[in-house]
């Protein structure tokens, strides 16, 4: 029976088997949103990435700035992206609406990622990116690592949960159903704003902040060296007094602005600050 197969057919079968194992080159990918950029840089093979957005290379914005700076940067316009001719474009669901529509119209595969409001959302977006760019195994490995990391943090959960407020530039804070809130729960601190019923995110007056008698104050800076009204809030005298008497943790903005595997490091920072 095997002898009846002619040599050319054998060659064909062999080629077919090889293609099954390595399904051609990986699709090339362009990314046009800061959070999408960082997920792409995390999941993709280096040679797959054609371009990422300019914010990804800014260390004030991005945790992977050095890695991003190796690639050509884009400002998220369709005309720029045409020149890269990517197989897949990864974008954010709330940004570049017109650009995404135009790229779809021009026949590109566009993946729009919903924001990551929980650790589960980070896993979902890791899988979505991995699926779209042919790196499913890498995606699953990252998700497994993410889950393990979350379990390690939960195992070291604080015994006594300190009342905690997060102060972001502009007097913003985080409430329930946000990534930061879930990470705070994971670390074992009480998010006072969430307990007061704040949903997702909102502003926090200095008076509410003081009245909540926080034991731990979490500051997330953003371009601290550049003057803005938003940063002036962080220099409020009342907040300074509070920082002198209570524990303070500093979580740089990029850890919470986008949901990344590294975002979980912020929960460890909170635990360290509370144990100090």
């Amino acid at each position: 029976m095997p002898s009846s197969i002619s040599p050319p057919l054998l060659v064909l079968l062999a080629v077919g088997a090889c293609q099954g194992a390595f399904a051609g080159p990986l699709p090339s990918v362009a990314s046009i949103n800061l959070c999408a950029d960082q997920l792409v840089l995390t999941v993709a093979a280096p040679e797959q990435v054609l371009t990422v957005s300019w914010l990804a290379a800014d260390p004030e914005e991005s945790l992977l700035a050095a890695q991003a700076a190796k690639y050509p940067l884009n400002y998220g316009s369709a005309e720029e992206l045409l020149r890269f001719h990517p197989d897949v474009v990864i974008a954010g669901a709330y940004t570049n609406a017109f650009t995404r529509a135009l790229l779809v119209r021009l026949g590109y595969e566009v993946v729009a990622l919903e924001p990551e409001d929980s650790v589960a959302d980070i896993a979902r977006n890791l899988r979505r990116v991995a699926q779209a760019i042919g790196r499913r195994e890498r995606g699953e490995a990252l998700v497994a690592e993410l889950d393990a990391h979350a379990r390690r943090i939960a195992a070291r959960r604080l015994e006594r949960a300190p009342a905690t407020v997060v102060v972001r530039p502009g007097g913003f804070t985080v409430g329930e159903h946000s990534l930061a809130d879930e990470l705070m729960k994971l670390a074992g601190v009480r998010n006072v704003a969430a307990e007061q019923g704040l949903d997702r995110w909102g502003s926090l007056s200095m008076e509410t902040l003081l009245a909540s008698r926080p034991e731990l104050v979490v500051l997330t800076g953003y371009r601290a060296s550049q003057p803005s009204l938003a940063n002036a809030v962080l220099a409020h005298p009342a907040l300074r007094l509070l920082r002198e008497s209570q524990q303070t943790a500093i979580v740089p903005g990029p850890y919470w602005d986008c949901g990344l595997p590294q975002s979980l490091d912020s929960a460890e920072r909170l635990q360290q600050a509370a144990r100090r």
Binding site: W54, A78, E79, L82, A93, Y94, A97, F98, L102, P115
Partner: protein
């Protein structure tokens, strides 16, 4: 005196000026088609023969067409409204059509519908604009005088702006809020021919309504009573202009966001050249508005590398110095 000055401008001045502006508009459109923008900044040409067709027809053509159509709409409606209200501060934003359209678009954004289909955003804008017009009509129908309309317009503007801010406060993601804010400053980036196809069928009837009011606008310069004694119905003129503006400007804002200053400044730039007949100002204002927005959009692409500036910022930057110049020049006359 003004009558004499106006008489000195025969109607041929209008056509000479229009021809000149028409040529400028064609030149601006040509430039807009060959100037692009890449990560490295402005780029002339199409960046390779393989890309030329798609860049030209799918990216730069819609952008150029919309610049001309939106600029023309704002110029035309600004001129008609200034004539109708006999008030040099009148502009399309005054009736609440722009803020209504912006609110409609923001609501679409807020519910996250914009991602599903990029036409949802402009469709929301058109609905918002028509809603604002319906409220204006309900408020001003009984009295119907200009003062009531202007006051109602200001009230609608304030209310729509407040609702927009409210929606921003409830935006599901801080990034959505940021995107909304940018959107309200106007932009032509990455619009497609589908947007032209959405806006044009609303703009053209809007223009026609405004143009149909031309003779009535001239009569109104003599005062409402005189116009009525000439057999013209001032109410009809009024609703033609307002309806046309709401339709055309609503469609424009819905596709590009709020582009300020064009409707205000363009009629003032031209009034000295065509005399004081509002009807003679309409065509030149349409063309000059188109030129101004097309040039503003070209200027955006000529900026050094970085994220694109918003259109509303550049039209104000280009328009305001002209306005300063007019004010300085007009001062001795006024004093």
């Amino acid at each position: 005196m003004t009558q004499d000055a106006a008489g000195a401008h025969d109607s041929s001045a209008q056509w000479r000026l229009s021809a000149l502006l028409g040529l400028l508009a064609i030149a601006a459109a040509g430039a807009s088609l060959v100037i692009g923008r890449t990560s490295g900044g402005p780029m002339f040409g199409f960046g390779g023969p393989d890309l030329a067709a798609i860049v030209l027809t799918e990216i730069r053509l819609p952008r150029t067409l919309l610049a001309l159509l939106v600029g023309g709409t704002l110029g035309l409606c600004g001129a008609a409204l200034q004539g109708l209200l006999r008030n040099p501060l009148a502009e399309p934003g005054l009736l609440g059509a722009s803020s209504g359209a912006a609110f409609g678009a923001v609501i679409v954004f807020y519910f996250g519908l914009a991602g599903a289909d990029s036409l949802m955003l402009p469709a929301g804008g058109v609905a918002g604009s028509l809603g604002a017009l319906a409220v204006l009509y309900a408020l001003a129908r009984r009295r119907g005088d200009f003062l009531t309309i202007v006051l109602a317009g200001i009230a609608i503007n304030a209310f729509a702006a407040a609702l927009t801010s409210l929606a921003l406060n409830f935006a599901p993601s801080p990034y959505a809020a940021l995107e909304i804010l940018f959107w309200m400053l106007g932009s032509l980036a990455d619009r497609s021919l589908a947007h032209v196809a959405l806006a044009l069928p609303l703009m053209v009837p809007g223009w026609l309504l405004v143009i149909a009011a031309a003779r009535g606008l001239d009569a109104l310069t003599l005062g409402e009573e005189t116009a009525a004694s000439l057999g013209l119905n001032p109410r009809r003129t009024q609703w033609l202009v307002i309806g046309g503006t709401a339709l055309a400007v609503g469609a424009a804002v819905a596709v590009t966001g709020v582009v300020g200053f064009v409707g205000l400044v363009v009629p003032h730039l031209l009034r000295g050249h065509v005399g004081h007949h509002p009807s003679r100002l309409l065509l030149p204002s349409f063309l000059a508005g188109a030129v101004l927005v097309a040039i503003a959009d070209i200027a955006i692409r000529l900026m050094p590398p970085g994220p694109e500036l918003k259109l509303g910022v550049v039209t104000a930057l280009l328009g305001a110095p002209f306005f300063f110049h007019l004010i300085v020049r007009a001062r001795p006359e006024g004093a």
